[in-house]
Amino acid sequence: MFKATVLNRRNATAQRVYRIALGGMTGILILPVILILGMLIWKGAPIISFEFLFTGPTKGMTAGGIFPALLGTILLVLVALLASVPLGVAAAIYLSEYAPDNWFTRAINLAIINLAGVPSIVHALFGVGAFVIFFRFGTSILAASLTLAIMTLPVVIVATRESLQAVPMAFREACWNMGATRWQTIRRVVLPNAVSGILTGVILEVSRTAGETAPIMFTGAAFFLPLLPQSVFDQTMALSLHLFVVSTQVPNMPEQLPYGVALVLISLVLLMNSPSIALRMYLRGKKKW
């Protein structure tokens, strides 16, 4: 057997020190956030009830529930999805199945990175300039949702492209050899094998869209509305903006209420995220290839 030398022992100690130090850094990163989330739950949970979720705000928003905001967020997300999912999936199919490896494809990829990286407030300015003013949608659900759709387009594109590229090339070749066209191959072989990955991307996009505030502030979300929206050309309240309003804009706000709003918003976002994560882990476990 080997006998441990001084060098071996020193290395082993160093190894242990680095391991603990790096693990500690990971912990320092995660722990405060978990504590903060715990505090949100502790302070926010008591106020949440059936009534809180399903009635409107009263007394200048210092009492009552959040129903118009909750409904507004759901509407904004749905309209945004209608616009961005078809477009994003098409873009991903092009990039994964058709695009040649040239400067133009690289430009598309750079554009996608930039769409994801441009500050949300710049997307808001774009929404105001393009949808509210130029296309004359006014401040409306439509304008806000389209702004959100463009902002979150990269999420769908990247997730879909990755799941399409994960389908082995041999599947496509086998199908082509049977005499299928490119599109038949994509529709019958590639997409069915990638659908769960695409769903993951869509769910992820929903959670991103639901939490965004800046892009909808000037394009369609209102601080307070007495009536629920009747069409996509109406303004709406939204949960994320509502949190901003109740925590900064309203005097004499009872302490609990903003905590309640924050808790509902964060639960919505994290609950939307969990199935996407679970789905991905489940699929990684039972991949056929």
């Binding site: 995660i30 554009a111 990175i113 500050p119 949300s120 066209t181 038949q184 994509i186 505030t213």
Partner: protein
């Protein structure tokens, strides 16, 4: 599906088989998905065109390069003389982003190394999922945390009159950017082929020596890309800095000063301006500036991660 005209025993090249409906469907779909791909470029150009269109009047009229970039006075609604200087706003954004990166870079790289190289099995899955969930917390919730939890905490701990400061926003932004940087950095570490590690271990290197001498140098570009994306994210963050900085125009001299960020200025003032006024157009000009800076950061990050590897 319709039966295609096909000679038995010969492989069919779908794209040359032009005399059936499927061939046309194939071409139409190709065109449609191509348009989908091009839409990304159209949108990014559209963003630039539309914010420039709204800010154009200011650039031609009241815009004064020296005043805009070198004056700390942002007084867009002054009765006597309006001034549009964004130096203090740049200082606000820079100080908050700088502090956030001081916190986020070491911790997220450390966490990425731990998750990619040390953690195994269940711990690893747990950490990865947690980091991913943390990255999903909306920025307005972070802003609320800065306002409702960090603010009283800072006032009590450091015995200062206001807690909405560079320190508050920097910590919030750091915690916010760290999970994203961690996952990108972890991807970069995972992209280093296992045979590099195996070769080093076969030479008798310890786990840490492998990481330090082999994995980190090999993943250098990817890690730098992660840092740059974190900087871009901090620079462009809006709601959290709007709520946690104190929002007062100030060139900070310590981390206990309140500041105001570029993004937050647009968010706070756009709703109160008349469309077409100098103030409104000046806000769009700040938008152009933000767009150009983030575009450059993203371009550099892309070149660092992919371009260098090619050359």
């Amino acid at each position: 599906m319709e039966q295609q005209a096909r000679r038995p025993g010969t492989p069919v090249q779908p794209d040359f088989d032009r005399l059936n409906r499927d061939w046309y469907i194939d071409k139409v779909v190709q065109l449609l998905v191509f348009l989908g791909g091009v839409s990304a470029i159209v949108f990014i150009i559209g963003i630039f065109v539309f914010i420039t269109r709204e800010g154009f009047g200011f650039l031609l009229g009241d815009f004064n390069f020296r005043e805009f970039f070198f004056s700390p006075n942002w007084r867009p609604t002054s009765e006597t003389r309006e001034t549009f200087g964004i130096l203090a706003l740049i200082a606000g954004t820079a100080s908050v982003t700088g502090l956030a990166m001081l916190i986020a870079i070491p911790f997220s790289l450390g966490a990425a190394i731990y998750i990619a190289e040390f953690a195994t099995g269940k711990t690893r899955e747990f950490l990865k999922v947690t980091v991913e969930l943390l990255a999903a917390i909306p920025s307005v919730v972070w802003g609320f945390i800065g306002l409702a939890i960090m603010n009283p905490l800072i006032i009590k701990t450091f015995d200062v009159p206001v807690g909405l400061t560079v320190l508050n926003a920097g910590v919030i932004l750091g915690l916010m950017a760290a999970p994203i940087m961690t996952s990108i950095a972890e991807d970069a570490l995972k992209a280093v082929p296992d045979r590099y590690r195996e070769a080093a271990e076969a030479m008798g290197a310890t786990r840490w020596q492998v990481i330090y001498k082999v994995v980190l140098p090999a993943a250098k570009n990817g890690l730098l890309g992660a840092v740059l994306l974190g900087v871009g994210r901090g620079f462009g963050e809006t709601m959290a800095v709007l709520m946690a900085t104190g929002h007062s125009i100030n060139i900070p001299t310590s981390i206990f000063d309140s500041v105001r960020a570029l993004t937050a200025t647009i968010a706070a003032e756009l709703g109160e301006t008349a469309a077409g006024s100098s103030h409104y157009q000046a806000l769009f000009t700040i938008g152009i500036f933000l767009f150009v800076v983030t575009f450059i950061i993203n371009l550099v990050a892309d070149l660092v991660v992919r371009g260098v590897r090619k050359g």
